[in-house]
Symmetry: none
Subunit: 226 residues, 2 copies
DNA sequence: TCCTCCGTGACATCTCCATGACAACCTCCG
DNA sequence: CGGAGGTTGTCATGGAGATGTCACGGAGGA
């Protein structure tokens, strides 16, 4: 099972993350200060670390640097309070792999974690489920429902929605979709993508003519807001 | 976007390389003889050149030498037919940066290209977010806000602002903007840029008629002060 | 075979962009 | 100090390009 370490001093946030991560079937370790966090990274070898920037004893900053200086490559997602810090986290060669700005959406953090694990772990960590409003999409079972109604979705629709969900909140270009969902070689017209998005909207949007979830970013691509 | 020029007279190979490079999100220019190749290197300023040794009009050999003699440092990967030639390419201080021997593996060539780009063009850390005053711009989400109000920005506006932000404090010329934001081929009047700057100011400046953030440097360009 | 799903093209619609004209401005030099 | 020439700010407008939508034909699986 994939093991995630969360280092966070705010008890409420820590609890929330732990619950959510466990609901996603991760094994969760926790620490509330930098020193314990460091020991756990070293001794428990988690597959990924979620690290708050502000911490007692040793800041996330120092912790990240120390870990990297000692040659460990454990993927780290930073929780940063403000935007300016974010740049530094990734920029100053601190060695964090991704970051999320507080206040963050748990859903987004989970998506980032999944993406990062997939990027760094050879074994693909698939996104299992997507939920919003009264819509539930289960990517493992290839099933979807809305309220009590089942929704019939096709393979390409699942693929498209899944990529959007894995990058929840971020813009996904048509090119990305072609590459990830259609794969090498097969490269249909971009018209095709619009059609699949249209049919997705017809199935999961409350008002398909006024999409609130699958948004168009003119000239760029689409993004999923959850 | 990173721009790669491929100079190759064999149509099949050229096509294959173009497809593969585009699949890796490079912008690809092509030429089938040395003379056109030379003009493109000079005028289109690609980030990297893949150069066949045997070419009509001007051989890859001459082309490489000419380019270097004129002081251009564009990284060049040579495609050589036989092993013996390879040594010469690098050895006779022709100025190529790397080479691949035909028949080559596309995967290997792509890896060489990536490595060479990393070596020569350390990519400026992609900027995700920009904040000042009560303005927040998120370049990954293509979202912007000011206080609690969402700001609607277009693709070109995001691109323009992003380049300014990546070089915060430094002057960015109109030429730079055309090259980075508009890309090769499309080259509108510089008037167009003024218009985009104007609409950016209207959206993010407190008093658009007295800009404090996006400043004009008369006769040179614009710069962002944050 | 039948049916589902996918890719494509055509068309309507909408957004965004490029352009040119003119006014305001800056700079440099007389 | 003032004026000329070049540069920039601003606006309105036409049009290019992107997207939404629909219907059709074909491929492949059941």
């Amino acid at each position: 099972m994939t093991r995630v370490l969360v280092v966070e001093d705010d008890a409420a946030i820590l609890r929330g993350l732990k619950d959510n991560l466990e609901a996603e079937s991760y094994e969760v370790l926790t620490a509330t200060d930098g020193e314990v966090g460091y020991e756990l990274i070293r001794d428990a070898a988690p597959d990924l670390v979620v690290l708050d920037l502000m911490l007692p004893k040793m800041s996330g900053y120092e912790l990240c640097k120390k870990v990297r200086d000692e040659g460990m490559t454990t993927p780290i997602v930073m929780l940063t309070a403000r935007g300016e810090e974010a740049d530094q986290v990734l920029g100053l060669d601190l060695g964090a792999d991704d970051y999320v700005t507080k206040p963050f959406s748990v859903r987004e953090l989970l998506a980032r974690i999944r993406a990062l694990l997939r990027r760094t772990n050879p074994e693909p960590t698939a996104l299992d489920e997507l939920r919003f409003d009264d819509v539930i999409v289960d990517f493992r079972r290839y099933e979807a429902s809305r309220g009590n109604e089942k929704i019939k979705m096709t393979r390409k629709e699942f693929g498209t929605l899944r990529l959007l969900a894995e990058r929840a909140g971020l813009v996904v270009t048509r090119h990305d979709l072609l590459k990830e969902v259609w794969g090498h070689g097969h490269e249909p017209t971009t018209r095709t993508i619009d059609n699949h998005v249209a049919s997705l909207r017809a199935k999961i949007e409350k008002d398909p003519s006024q999409p609130k979830r699958i948004l168009t970013v003119h000239g760029v691509g689409y993004k999923l807001d959850v």
